[in-house]
């Protein structure tokens, strides 16, 4: 079977807290896997382990058959894994264009001297740089960011910043994209747009996506499969409908007696 990402027995502790224990995930190419779970369940920790911000205490993470759990974030980015963050992490004092350009960093010939090739002005840009610019412009067009192309991202509306973050991750031309709550804090309309973009990415660019999302309707709608975790342990994995009806999932979200808001 064709496997893009394979996680086996992944565990991560913070002091006495078991943030992740014994998580197994197998991700096929072009698949969208939704990760759900209550706050503090370990979803973001999972992302941080995959893209190298955390070093797991035990377990193996293989990307295209290669173990990556001991590599740093920059090396992992080079392999083709990009991500967005739960709380927007943009380069606030840089323009939209520059933010997305920095997403192309791994494709630059960043040997110190060769890396000093011009990118600022079209006339000076070499053939390679022109190609990069074209890619960035394509992404800007795709996500409809033309109007904010030369604006500082710090001052952009929240939903637009979320899109810029997605654009920056796309600029890396990732084979695996980790989206950490791409719709959090968005209006209903912005959410619809985001769902549209994400489906588009899967269909047209063939990107494999691991998605954390609290909006149940959205995550059910968009994911091929869903993984539910609670207290760092996987409690259900399978088709969206099946996971939603899984008794452990219902319990994790609704509790045994008191009823709580699932989208909290």
């Amino acid at each position: 079977m064709d496997v893009l990402l394979e996680i086996q027995g992944l565990s991560k502790n913070f002091g006495g807290l078991k943030a992740l224990s014994n998580v197994d995930i197998t991700l096929k190419p072009k698949e969208i896997l939704g990760v759900i779970g209550p706050n503090g369940a370990g979803k973001t920790t999972l992302f941080n382990c995959i893209n190298g911000l955390y070093r797991p205490d035990s377990g193996v993470i293989r990307f295209e058959g290669r173990p990556i759990q001991a590599l740093g974030p920059d090396r992992i980015a080079r392999l083709g894994i990009a991500r967005t963050f739960q709380n927007i992490e943009l380069f606030a004092n840089m323009r939209t264009m520059e933010n997305i350009m920095l997403g192309r960093h791994v494709h630059m010939r960043t040997g110190i001297f060769r890396g000093a090739a011009m990118w600022g002005r079209r006339s000076f840009a070499g053939r390679e740089e022109r190609a990069h610019r074209l890619t960035v412009e394509t992404i800007i067009d795709l996500l409809g960011l033309q109007a904010v192309r030369d604006k500082l991202v710090g001052g952009l509306p929240y939903g637009t910043q979320k899109l810029v973050e997605l654009a920056r991750a796309l600029a890396l031309e990732p084979r695996l994209l980790l989206l950490d709550e791409p719709c959090a804090g968005m209006t209903a309309e912005e959410k619809q747009d985001m769902i549209f973009w994400i489906k588009d990415l899967q269909d047209e660019l063939g990107v494999t996506i691991l998605l954390i999302e609290h909006d149940m309707r959205m995550v059910m709608d968009i994911s091929d499969r869903i993984l539910a975790i609670n207290f760092g342990r996987p409690i259900a994995l399978g088709a969206p409908e099946a996971v939603r009806r899984h008794p452990d999932v219902l319990e994790a979200y609704l509790g045994k007696q008191e009823r709580r808001e699932p989208a909290a």
Partner: protein, 301 residues
């Protein structure tokens, strides 16, 4: 014939521009604040002076060598800086300033408190360079360094530096090798400071460790911060302003440090992006004056 007084001011302005650019690259681009940059000027000045005085090397070889020696120490600091962040790095660089001054003061090899004298005037075409020629050399070096920094700023390296300054972890997630780019910023910055030190030594022809103390480090930082960190414009204009202004304000010479301090406080309070920084009142005013707004927009489009 331009009086010698003006040559002196111009030469010092050039040296200050170089120092200011040096901090601009390190703090403005890569976001690594140095409170001890006078140390690298000292290293450049002493390397250049000792090579020419003790080893009779030509100035034209000694100056690049001074940049190299300074950059080597900068490389070392860069490696150390990888383990330090913000305040801790600032304090460490400050310590480095004291260490360098200490070594120069107490090691007999470096002439102790008396420093090094009889530094030769650079030779050009078999003759000693006149003041005018020396000023021209300084201006040429400033032009060269400005061009180099501009080139770096426009490059992928500059973009990566700014990413590190803005959010180091995020830059790393985008694939930026933090260690490589930080160390490179230290090397470039300290090489520039080394050149400034060499120019200083061969202009005054007599240097002592006291020339490169901690107050000078603060002044260097002031030049760049006051002008506006991050762009070439800020550090260059800041250095020009702060070198020439005191000449016209001779009567407050005794209060120079006080004025520096006051200026810093006021600028940081009301123009934290620097006098010539992005959207500062001076930049906006100048733009309006020359109608540059349209031109700048046109170029960006």
């Amino acid at each position: 014939m331009i009086p010698a007084y003006y040559h002196t001011i111009m030469t010092f302005t050039c040296i200050n521009i170089l120092l200011s650019l040096s901090i601009g690259v390190l703090a403005g681009y890569a976001g690594q604040v140095s409170l001890g940059h006078a140390a690298f000027m000292a290293i450049g000045a002493y390397a250049s002076a000792m090579l020419t005085v003790t080893f009779k090397v030509s100035f034209w070889l000694a100056m690049p060598a001074a940049a190299l020696v300074s950059a080597m120490v900068g490389l070392l600091l860069g490696v150390i800086a990888l383990r330090l962040k913000e305040d801790f790095l600032a304090i460490t660089t400050m310590g480095l300033n004291f260490i360098v001054i200490g070594v120069l003061l107490y090691a007999p090899y470096f002439g102790k408190a008396l420093g090094i004298g009889d530094i030769p005037v650079p030779m050009l075409f078999g003759e000693e360079m006149g003041r005018g020629m020396y000023t021209a050399l300084c201006l040429a070096l400033v032009a060269g360094v400005v061009a180099a920094v501009w080139w770096l700023q426009r490059s992928w390296i500059g973009l990566a530096w700014r990413g590190i300054r803005e959010a180091q972890d995020v830059a790393q997630v985008m694939g930026v090798n933090i260690a490589k780019f930080k160390i490179f910023a230290f090397v470039i910055s300290t090489a520039i400071a080394g050149i400034a030190g060499s120019l200083y030594a061969h202009f005054l022809l007599f240097i002592t460790p006291y020339d490169f103390g901690f107050p000078l480090s603060i002044q260097i930082l002031t030049l760049a911060v006051l002008g506006g960190l991050g762009a070439i414009r800020g550090p260059v204009l800041g250095a020009i302003l702060l070198t020439i202004l005191p000449e016209y304000l001779r009567f407050i010479q005794d209060y120079r440090m006080l004025t520096y301090g006051l200026l810093l406080v006021l600028v940081m309070m009301y123009q934290p992006q620097g006098l010539f920084g992005h959207k500062s009142f001076l930049t906006e005013g100048l733009k309006r004056l020359f109608g540059g707004e349209e031109k700048i927009r046109g170029r960006a489009a």
